[in-house]
Amino acid sequence: MLKAVILIGGPLKGTRFRPLSLDIPKPLFPVAGLPVIQHHIEACAAIKELKEILIIGFYPVTQLQQFVNDMQLQYNVTIKYLQEFTALGTAGGLYHFRDQIRSGSPEAFFVLNGDVCADFPLRELYKAHKERSDGLLTVMTTEATRLQSLNFGCMVVDKGTQEITHYVEKPSSYVSTLINCGIYVFSLKIFNIIGEAFNTKQDEFYKNGSNNVNRDTGYLQLEQDILTPLAGSGKMFALQTRNWWSQLKTASSAIYANRHYLELYKERHPERLATEKKSEKCSITPDVHIDNTAVIHPTAVIGPNVSVGTGVRIGAGVRIRESIILDAAIIEDRSLILHSIIGRNSHIGKWARVEGTPSDPDPNKPFAKMENPRLFNNDGRLNPSITILGCSVSVPSETILLNSIVLPNKELSRSIKNEIIL
């Protein structure tokens, strides 16, 4: 029997995902028509031996309960949301709920960070883990560019044994281009290691006092507090994947992840993709996901890489490309949406142009990852990014919105270029 843990953090996390995370928890933001962590759940549920999924975070239960109920019904697997009383860190949360994880004595459990998107190779990961009886954990890794590797957990791996001999989280100088994907398999014995780290921290706290008053004494980070000390001990191994993988930090990365999840549907869930024959709703340039409840004029042209949510209304002659249209948005006739996210209940007038600038990985560099540029450049100007409308934003007819971010519940009255509208 196997279990899985999805670590989703809490409302104080995911700030770079604003304004999209202002009205919906980031783990529930729909990418390719499904909440971000439903993709995780789907990958877990595809493994027969996996009997339970535990979602750990510190969002209020009320924000997650409906989703958890829906998922249980849909995937026929036990799913529980375990709310931390405060931010406990990635390892602290696991340790706090160790009894829940251990109950029923699973042979191993997966741990997936909620803010990654990937074609999760969970079965291969488990197989690799099982082959090493001495291993406490196996880390999924992928190749990054030399420069970008500094933004991730970097590790040195023995080419023969695949043992991780060295691990540094976000090093300041180059260590390795092999990076941590935030996807792991653990044996239950890992709790001995986490327990030791926990006890050491507690001892320190009661002897010397905490050096960070804002954090709970049980705060433990998986990367710094567990992986780094464990490197070179012969208990931690790597499995490198060539599958698509990305972090989901900024709103721009949602557009990028949307495109890749849609592409994965082609093989695994073609029924989720709109085709011209099937929909007869409008012209489609694949890949496109359109919710069945969306009403789309036959003269609209949609795609590639577009997701359209429930209850969306799209008018005559509308063109949408590389964008996510969230639930109940209305796009009036003749408008154009490019590289943008349109929030729930937003309203776009006629002949409007909503356009952003993508910050996709450099296609000319092998293993390049999504860049997550800062909001502002060194001159204090807004870096060009995708255009994001928070929920219930209204855009007047015939205006242009370029590289801008509009916070929720705003009624715009003019064209906006390279601005944040509070």
Partner: protein, 365 residues
């Protein structure tokens, strides 16, 4: 024969029309269509109406193309067109001396016009006024809101001009020289055949001699020599048409305000055209297009769902689907703008293919 017949007019066409580039890279400025008619013909037609029988065009380049194209029009209108070639730029007065032999053929006063001027040419009243004061010259003056940008004309209650003041810092007058004159042949003697400015070197002397009067223009006036003013002038002209000749304006579904459409143009369904739009012959506007404050020249195509404001679209251009163009964008002849691009204040030279958005005003070579 009325006493005004046999009159002559000199139109100062001049140089390359660089201010109206990129349009003037393909056609001499007087032949660029303003409200579906070459700028020059607006003037010539008005002159013919008051009995002008000979129009002298003072040109310094590309006379051949103009001569060919204007020959037909001249025939239709029954007017003689004479080209007076400058071998060097002679300013605004020199061409009068150069064309002296033509202008002296009769002792009647003659008209002088700057070629970029659009107004409701009141030549009949003008000539009557000129005769009534009996002096050597009459300048048409027009009222402007911000006289400090121009040279203003100062005159007394009898309309006798006293002086000219360049860019006055303190308000003296809000009347400026409108670029239309009536002069007696005697004025030719005041001008030497060399580069000379009529405004700076001829008129001040005439004013000193009390030989110059001001005729106040009623209604609209615009120097349409550059794109921004071309569009302002179009708005004024269409507004004038609304009151003077509303039958010429286009009516149809989705039309807002004053719109002029050539009968050979085709307009698709669900479009919103206007206010202030001119659509030339052979133009095709596909479905769902929105156009405001724009001139579209002959044989251009605007594909579906596109939005245009404050643009001049050159001859035979193709503007793709879901394009947005604004901010005094001027497309030269035969420019192709690809689908979904955004052009803000672009000046695009002829025969270009535009595939990337132009988000800030610039010239596209």
């Amino acid at each position: 024969m009325s006493d005004q017949s046999g009159m002559r007019a000199l139109i100062l066409v001049g140089g390359y029309g660089t201010r109206l580039r990129p349009l003037t890279l393909s056609r001499p400025k007087p032949l660029v269509e303003f409200a579906n008619k070459p700028i020059l013909l607006h003037q010539v037609e008005a002159l013919v109406k008051v009995g002008v029988t000979e129009v002298i065009l003072a040109v310094s380049y590309r006379a051949e193309q103009m001569e060919q194209e204007l020959a037909d029009e001249a025939k239709k209108l029954g007017v003689k067109m004479v080209f007076s070639h400058e071998t060097e730029p002679l300013g605004t007065a020199g061409p009068i001396a150069l064309a002296g032999e033509h202008l002296r053929k009769s002792d009647k006063p003659f008209f002088v016009l700057n070629s970029d001027i659009i107004c409701d040419f009141p030549f009949k009243k003008l000539i009557e006024f000129h005769k009534s004061h009996g002096k050597e010259g009459t300048i048409v003056v027009t009222k402007v809101e911000e006289p400090s940008k121009y040279g203003v004309v100062v005159y007394n209650e009898q309309k006798c001009i006293e002086s000219f003041v360049e860019k006055p810092q303190e308000f003296i007058s809000n009347k400026i020289n409108a670029g239309l004159y009536v002069l007696n042949p005697s004025v030719i003697d005041r001008i030497e055949l060399k580069p000379t400015s009529i405004e700076k070197e001829v008129f001040p002397n005439m004013a000193t001699d009390n030989q110059l009067f001001a005729f106040e223009l009623e209604g609209f006036w615009m120097d349409v020599g550059q794109p921004k003013d071309f569009l302002i002038g179009m708005c004024l002209y269409l507004k004038h048409l609304r009151s003077a000749d509303p039958e010429k304006l286009y009516r149809g579904p989705g039309v807002i305000g004053n719109v002029l459409v050539d009968p050979t143009a085709k307009i698709g369904k669900s479009c919103q055209i206007g206010p202030n739009v001119t659509i030339g012959p052979g133009v095709v506007i596909e479905d769902g297009v929105c156009i405001k404050r724009t001139t579209i020249l002959r044989d251009a195509t605007i594909r579906s769902n596109t939005w245009l404001e404050s643009c001049i679209i050159g001859w035979r251009c193709t503007v793709g689907q879901w394009v947005r163009m604004e901010g005094i964008t001027v497309l030269g002849e035969d420019v192709i703008v690809k689908d979904e691009t955004y052009i803000n204040g672009g000046q695009v030279l002829p025969h270009k293919n535009i595939g990337d958005s132009v988000r800030t005003p610039q010239i596209i070579m």
